[in-house]
Amino acid sequence: MLASAPTRHLNGDMWASITDRDWLWGAATLYLAGFILGTVSLFRRGRPSNIATYSLIAAGFVLQNLGLAIRGHAVGGCPLGNNLELFQFTAWSAITLYLFVGVTFRSSLLGYFTACLAAVLTLLSLSLPAWDSTRRPHLFGGNPWIEFHAALALFSYGVFALLALTSILTLFRFYSLQSKRIGGWFSFLPSVLDLDHIGVRLLLAGVLILGASLAVGSAFWLRDTTTVSAAKLIITGGVWVAYAAAFTLRIRGRLLAKRFAWTCLVLFGVALLSLPLVDASRHPAPAADVRARHERA
């Protein structure tokens, strides 16, 4: 496994001994706590615990920022060098969106599901040692535009993650209305129309952000087509085309309601699966030790 980068001496030895992975584990634990607390609250009181869940997610977000900052500092850029970092960054993007714009959706269950998604992504990425055993140094070749391209792409995945969550809420809402049960925790779901509006906006935002990322990346790829593998181009281009097609069909009224929700969920699953494929299809790069790089820095 990749050696973890320790925190610089902040306040004595205790802080210094905390590694980036420790912070990330802490964040994952808090996300999981938010999910468990929400589940207990739903079953015991029939409603989600809004403030507590939001607080736990916010605290987890702070720890995740610390962990990613240490990694970023160590590699001198955005930490997107292996599967762990890709999944962490995707979770970070979804949490960022939830914390800053999710509240305006007035969906008390969105926080609960966001905590669930973040816990799954972060715990999965930390639990698989192989995902953090190597990382690519000089990933962006010192080019901030390539780094911007990668960060934008991953941020769009965060948007799609939130879209997947609203799709789950949509499916629950349809189930509730079609099974003629609107009481209990179903009463905390947003309305059909609100969920549809949120979904369309998130889909549009995700398509635009991923499109911008691909535009930035293709500007450099056109200069030297050997720098990017065909597999990566096909996979990332395919994800964008699929989401853009879903948006077009939705706007034209051909993909609606439950079908739209299922499509967004399936597409997010495909997008997540594409991350390791994209990472694997990059041109081979020698493994590097973050700690060593950090020490060199």
Binding site: S191, V192, L193, D194, D196, L256, A257, K258, R259
Partner: protein
């Protein structure tokens, strides 16, 4: 039953689902003919018909045991309903049990929405109509009047009506679950009767701004629209204009569907992303059931709304035992009064009231 007696025979929501109750539903014009037929049935001394969305019940005082079968046969024949099928869903109570049932109906204990009070009014109307037709006599007059007294007593002595949620309020809640807010929701009320008006008012009280009324009887639609500050729509345009509305409250009293699945599908093609919410409060149902299968169409009928309204039933259920105990005392007293009346009427076998 070989001696004169009181009985109730019929069908209700307990054993007859909505699609069966539709077939058993007796419209106003048919009801008059049915009443006339019952009036000349041999052996029937007194009778009253309770005919609502959820029940068709014949309360009778008869001279012989076969009278119940004759009532049943006459009813099934008029409704063209298979007699053996009716036997599977039939309620047939005699003597004291029939009294107990009537009192429980009056209190709302037998209602789909436990403790609801609308049935009390419907029962009073049914009795008043029977009394006006002179189809009731000394036994049923006493029984119904005592039932009304008992119902008032039980409702005021227990918490059986506490936490009651009306069907209209459930409909509004559902609309909010679909549209989020009612401010921009366009509502069409089909039928200008009491149920349609109540539902329309419930929507208005929660912020609905755009209301349209349509009825077969244009005058009634105009009157209701004036009371609700709403606009009107010619009844024959209803299907062509489905797409112009978000919520359609169906509360007509006619036979057969008035909104087809085909018309709904055509309307949804013009507005595929915006849901349509049908609230079908009519009996028989106004909206073709297949419409529920169309994407973004939500169709709720009386049974669906009652089921949701009953989600808070638990608190009232705790009162059932108390209500039954109170009613049982009343039934015992009433039975002691009625039994001699029934026996004395045996001597006048064959007389009509």
């Amino acid at each position: 039953m070989s001696t004169p007696g009181i009985f109730v025979i019929g069908a209700n929501h307990h054993r007859a689902p909505i699609e069966v109750r539709e077939k058993l539903f007796v419209g106003p014009e048919v009801e008059a003919a049915l009443q006339a037929e019952l009036a000349v049935l041999p052996g029937i001394r007194e009778f009253a018909v309770v005919n609502t969305c959820n029940r068709i019940e014949f309360y009778c005082v008869a001279a012989d045991a076969e009278s119940a079968a004759r009532v049943e046969a006459a009813f099934c024949s008029r409704q063209r309903f298979d007699l053996s099928e009716f036997g599977k869903i039939r309620m047939d109570l005699r003597g004291r049990e029939a009294l107990q049932h009537l009192l429980e109906v009056a209190v709302g204990l037998d209602s789909q929405m436990l403790g609801e009070t609308e049935i009390f009014g419907q029962l009073k109307e049914a009795y008043a109509a029977a009394h006006a037709r002179k189809s009731t006599g000394p036994v049923l007059n006493r029984v119904f009047q005592k039932a009304f007294q008992a119902a008032k007593h039980v409702r005021s002595s227990t918490a059986i009506t506490v936490g009651q949620v009306s069907v209209a309020n459930v409909a509004v809640e559902l609309a909010l679950n679909i549209f989020g807010t009612l401010a921009e929701v366009r509502i069409l009320v089909l039928g200008a009767g009491e149920i349609g008006e109540k539902t329309a008012k419930a929507f208005q009280s929660r912020g609905a701004a755009t209301l349209t009324v349509s009825s077969r009887q244009a005058e009634r639609a105009t009157d209701l629209a004036a009371r609700l500050s709403a606009s009107t729509l010619p009844f024959e345009q209803r299907e062509a204009r489905i797409g112009d509305f978000d919520v359609i409250v169906c509360a007509t009293s006619g036979q057969g569907t008035i909104l087809s699945a085909a018309a709904t599908a055509a309307a949804m093609k013009k507005r595929p992303a915006r849901p349509v919410f049908y609230i079908d409060l009519a009996m028989p149902r106004d909206v073709e059931a297949a419409a529920a299968g169309i994407q973004n169409v939500f169709l709720y009928n009386l049974d669906d709304l009652a089921k949701i309204a009953e989600e808070n039933r638990a608190a009232r259920e705790a009162e059932i035992a108390t209500c039954r105990a109170l009613l049982s005392e009343r039934v015992d007293g009433l039975w002691r009064q009625v039994e001699p009346q029934l026996e004395s009427s045996a001597g006048r076998n064959g007389d009509k009231p």
